[in-house]
C-alpha cells in the first residue's frame, strides 16, 4: 500500500485563546482529529481569581528565589493544566477553558465569581490570602461552586474555619512541618532550635511545628524570636550567630514567611548545624528539581511556557485543573452533584506527578499528597518518609488526621 510521507502538522493553542483571558502561545501540538464526524462539544470553563497587589508576589523575592515565596503568578500552572486537558477534551467532546480575573478587591472578585456561576461555572481556582479566601467562600456559599485554595497554608482553614465549598490543593502548614520533622527524626536530628519571625504566619508555623514534634518524637530545645534588624541595641535578635548561640541543638528550624532573614542564615549559625524551614532544606508542594514519578516531565512542559521555574503554587493550580478534568472525564461530564461527589471521593486517584495517587480528605477537604524536601536545586527526600506508617493511607501521616480534626463543615 502506498505510504504518505507527510508530516502531520500540529496546531498551536490559538483555538483556545478565546477561552483564555491571557493570550499565551503554547509550543504544544494538538492531536490529529479522527476522520469521523466531530462530536458536538460542551464547554467546561474553570475560573481563576487572583488579587492585584498581592504582597506574596513581590518581584524582588521572586528574583532571589526565596523558597517560601512564589516565583510568579500560578495562573501559568492553570494554563498548563488546560493545555494538558486538550487531548481528553477532544476525545470526550468537551472544550476545557480557563477564565481568569485579576481583581483589585475581594468584592470585585466575588462579583465576577457570581457572574461566572450564573453562566454555569462550577469550579474556581483561588490564589488568595486566607482572609480574602474566606470572604469569597462565604459570599458564594449559596451557589453550586467549589473553590480550590492554591496559596493559603493556614491550618485554621482546614480546622475551625473550614468551609464545605473549599478544597485545599496547597499543603497546610502542619503538613509541611510534619514532612520536615519526619525527615529530621529519620536522620536522628531530633533537637531543634526554632527561630520565629514576627508575623502571625510565623506563629502559625511554630504552632504547627509544636504539633509535629509531639507526634513524631522530636524535641524543640528553645523557640527564639528573630527580627530583621541592624539596630545595634537589638543585635541578639537580628544577628544569626548571636541568636543561635549559647545552646546546643542538631538543627535550626526557621519560621520566616517573609524569607529575608532565613535567606542569610545557612552557614551563619553559631554552631555548625543544618538550617531548615524557610531556607536550606524546605518542605514544599513542588520543586522544579523534583525528578521522581514523572515530575520532571510536568516541570519541563511548564517551563516551556513561562521563563521561570515551576513552583508550589503553580503545581497547586495545575493539579486543580486536573482534578476538574478527571471528574468530568470519569463521570462522563455529569451534573454538579455528580462532579463534586467524584472530586471528593476515594476514587479521585489523581496523578500529581508525586508518586502515590492523590485524593481529597473527607474530614477537612485537604488534598492528601507527598511532600518533597528540597534545597534550591535538588530534592533530598520526600515525605511521608519511609517507615512512617498510617492505618489506611501513609499520606495521612502528613497533616491533621481524622481523629484530631477540628473541622466541622457548617450547615
Amino acid at each position: 500500500m502506498a505510504r504518505f510521507t507527510h508530516l502531520v502538522a500540529g496546531a498551536t493553542a490559538l483555538a483556545f485563546a478565546s477561552a483564555l483571558s491571557v493570550s499565551t502561545a503554547f509550543a504544544q501540538q494538538q492531536p490529529a482529529q479522527p476522520p469521523a464526524a466531530a462530536k458536538p462539544t460542551t464547554a467546561v470553563d474553570i475560573g481563576y481569581v487572583e488579587l492585584a497587589n498581592n504582597p506574596m508576589y513581590d518581584s524582588v523575592y521572586a528574583y532571589y528565589m526565596v523558597p517560601v515565596r512564589p516565583l510568579g503568578s500560578p495562573l501559568a500552572g492553570a494554563q498548563l493544566g488546560i493545555a494538558d486537558a486538550q487531548t481528553i477534551g477532544k476525545v470526550i467532546g468537551v472544550d476545557f477553558g480557563l477564565k481568569s480575573e485579576l481583581g483589585d478587591t475581594i468584592d470585585d472578585i466575588t462579583r465576577t465569581v457570581r457572574d461566572w456561576s450564573g453562566a454555569g461555572m462550577h469550579f474556581v481556582i483561588a490564589d488568595l490570602p486566607a482572609a480574602e479566601l474566606l470572604k469569597l467562600s462565604d459570599a458564594v456559599a449559596d451557589l453550586p461552586i467549589t473553590i480550590f485554595n492554591i496559596a493559603a497554608n493556614e491550618d485554621t482553614l482546614r480546622g475551625a474555619d473550614c468551609r464545605a465549598n473549599l478544597v485545599h490543593m496547597i499543603p497546610s502548614d502542619r503538613m509541611l512541618t510534619d514532612a520536615m520533622v519526619q525527615y529530621l527524626v529519620s536522620r536522628h536530628w531530633r533537637n531543634i532550635l526554632v527561630l520565629q519571625g514576627p508575623s502571625e504566619q510565623d506563629q502559625q508555623v511554630v504552632d504547627a511545628l509544636q504539633q509535629s514534634v509531639q507526634f513524631f518524637g522530636a524535641r524543640i530545645v528553645e523557640v527564639r524570636p528573630f527580627e530583621l534588624s541592624n539596630d545595634p541595641t537589638n543585635r541578639e535578635r537580628g544577628n544569626v550567630a548571636l541568636v543561635t548561640g549559647g545552646i546546643d541543638y542538631d538543627v535550626v528550624y526557621i519560621a520566616d514567611s517573609d524569607g529575608e532573614f532565613a535567606r542569610f542564615a545557612p552557614y551563619e549559625t553559631n554552631n555548625p548545624r543544618p538550617v531548615v524551614g524557610a531556607s536550606g532544606l524546605v518542605a514544599k508542594a513542588w520543586s522544579w528539581a523534583y525528578q521522581n514519578h514523572g515530575s520532571s516531565e510536568v516541570t519541563q512542559r511548564f517551563e516551556q511556557t513561562v521563563p521561570r521555574h515551576m513552583d508550589s503554587q503553580d503545581w497547586a493550580a495545575w493539579i486543580s485543573t486536573k482534578a476538574v478534568v478527571q471528574s468530568v472525564l470519569r463521570t462522563k461530564n455529569g451534573d454538579y452533584p455528580a462532579l463534586l461527589a467524584y472530586l471528593l471521593s476515594e476514587k479521585l486517584n489523581l496523578d500529581g506527578g508525586k508518586g502515590n495517587p492523590l485524593s481529597v480528605r473527607p474530614w477537612d477537604h485537604q488534598l492528601r499528597q507527598a511532600i518533597p524536601l528540597a534545597t534550591t536545586n535538588a530534592v533530598m527526600d520526600e515525605a511521608p518518609i519511609t517507615g512512617f506508617l498510617h492505618q489506611t493511607n501513609d499520606l495521612d501521616t502528613l497533616g491533621v488526621d481524622q481523629p484530631q480534626s477540628t473541622c466541622k463543615f457548617p450547615g
Binding site: 504518505f4 504544544q28 492531536p31 494538558d84 514523572g294 512542559r301 472525564l329 489523581l350 496523578d351
Partner: protein, 333 residues
C-alpha cells in the same frame, strides 16, 4: 584451460558470489546468551554473561538516559533509545560497541520495529509525539501528535495499527500506520504506560500505573472488557504501580512488573486470573524471559539490580547488581 589472470578473476567472482550468498542468509539465531541491561542514570548498557556466573563482561557507555532496547531480527545489532540525547544508539553485538545513532525528537522512550526492519516507531516523551523513522535513511517519515507523555508503543501483527499510550491523557491512541493518523482513542485508567498483545491478537493489555490495574481491551471493538486489580501481599492498592508486561511464547502467561509494589504478578492469559506474586527488588518496571523461558529477569529501578526468578518454582533465586536505575533487560538468545 583458463590462464592465471582469468583464473584469478574467476576465483574472485566466485569468492564475491559466495560472500554475497552468505550475507543474504539470515544469521543463525543462536546468540551470545548475554544479558543486556540499560541504566538510565549511569548512562550505560551493562553486559552480563550467564555462563560466567553473570560476570559483567562489558560496560558499554551509551548516549545519556538509555531506556528501551531491541535487537534486530538477526541479533547483530542492539538499538537503545537514549532519552536525554534524543538519539537511538546502535550497538554492534559482536564488538559490544556503539557504532551509530539515529536522531529522534525530544526524549525518545520506547520503540518497536516493523517486520522488515525498515522502520521503527518511537514515542518521544517530552515532545508528545510518536515518530515513524526510516532506519536506513534516518529520516522521519511521519510524526503523529499524541496526548502528553506518550510511552508504550506496540504494533499489531498485520502492522496496520500502532497503539500508543499517553500517560497524561489516560488513553490509548489507535494509529493507522498507513495514513499516520489517530483513528480512535480508548480511555483507560490513570497513567497508562505499556502494552502486551495476546498471541491470538484479540486482546491488548495496558498497564494503568496509578490505578494499580491492567486494562484489557478487545481489539475488535476497542472497548475495555476487563480490568485486573493487583494486590500483592503487604501492599495497599495505592502502592501498586504496574508498568511492564511480557508474555511467553506459548501465550498462556503474562508477567506483570508491579513497580513500587516490588513484585511480579503471574496472570493466566486465557482466564485473566492472577495466579500469584513473587517478591523481587525495588520498583520493578520491566521483566523479560530467558530464551529457554525457564527464567524471568526483572529490572528493579530503585534497588539498582536485576532479580532472577525461576519460573518452575516462581521463586526469586538471585539478584545481580546493575547500574544506576536499570530500565530494560534483554537476553541475546
Amino acid at each position: 584451460m583458463m590462464n592465471s589472470h582469468a583464473l584469478r578473476r574467476f576465483l574472485f567472482s566466485l569468492a564475491t558470489l559466495l560472500a554475497t550468498i552468505m550475507m543474504l542468509q539470515p544469521a543463525e539465531a543462536a546468540g551470545t546468551g548475554y544479558l543486556f541491561v540499560s541504566n538510565e542514570r549511569s548512562n550505560n548498557v551493562l553486559v552480563f554473561d550467564p555462563a560466567k556466573d553473570y560476570a559483567v563482561i562489558k560496560d558499554i557507555k551509551t548516549s545519556r538516559r538509555p531506556r528501551d532496547m531491541h535487537f534486530n531480527h538477526d541479533h547483530t545489532l542492539l538499538y537503545v533509545a537514549c532519552g536525554e540525547d534524543d538519539v537511538i544508539d546502535i550497538i554492534d553485538v559482536a564488538t559490544l560497541e556503539v557504532v551509530d545513532h539515529i536522531p529522534t525528537a525530544r526524549s525518545p522512550e520506547m520503540f518497536v520495529f516493523n517486520k522488515d526492519e525498515t522502520e521503527l516507531y518511537v514515542s518521544n516523551e517530552e515532545n508528545s509525539t510518536v515518530q515513524i523513522i526510516s532506519i536506513k535513511d534516518k529520516i522521519i517519515v511521519n510524526e503523529i501528535p499524541t496526548g502528553a507523555e506518550p510511552e508504550g508503543v506496540i504494533l499489531s501483527e498485520d502492522e496496520k495499527t500502532l497503539y500508543a499510550t499517553s500517560e497524561v491523557a489516560d488513553m490509548v491512541h489507535v494509529i493507522d500506520t498507513d495514513s499516520g493518523s489517530v483513528v480512535d482513542n480508548i480511555i483507560v485508567g490513570t497513567r497508562p504506560r505499556r502494552f502486551v498483545l495476546t498471541k491470538d491478537g484479540k486482546e491488548l493489555w495496558v498497564s494503568d500505573e496509578l490505578s494499580g490495574e491492567v486494562s484489557i481491551i478487545d481489539r475488535a471493538t476497542n472497548q475495555v472488557i476487563d480490568t485486573l486489580s493487583f494486590v500483592p501481599p503487604g501492599f495497599r492498592p495505592v502502592d501498586v504501580t504496574p508498568v511492564g508486561m511480557t508474555i511467553n511464547t506459548a501465550g498462556d502467561t503474562v508477567y506483570v512488573a508491579l513497580g513500587r509494589a516490588n513484585h511480579i504478578a503471574f496472570v493466566n492469559t486465557a482466564s485473566h486470573e492472577i495466579e500469584g506474586y513473587t517478591l523481587v527488588g525495588s520498583r520493578a518496571w520491566e521483566a523479560r524471559l530467558s530464551p529457554d523461558e525457564k527464567l524471568l529477569y526483572v529490572a528493579n529501578g530503585l534497588s539498582d539490580d536485576v532479580s532472577i526468578v525461576d519460573l518452575e518454582t516462581r521463586k526469586n533465586i538471585r539478584t545481580i547488581s546493575a547500574g544506576r536505575i536499570p530500565h530494560t533487560v534483554l537476553v541475546d538468545g
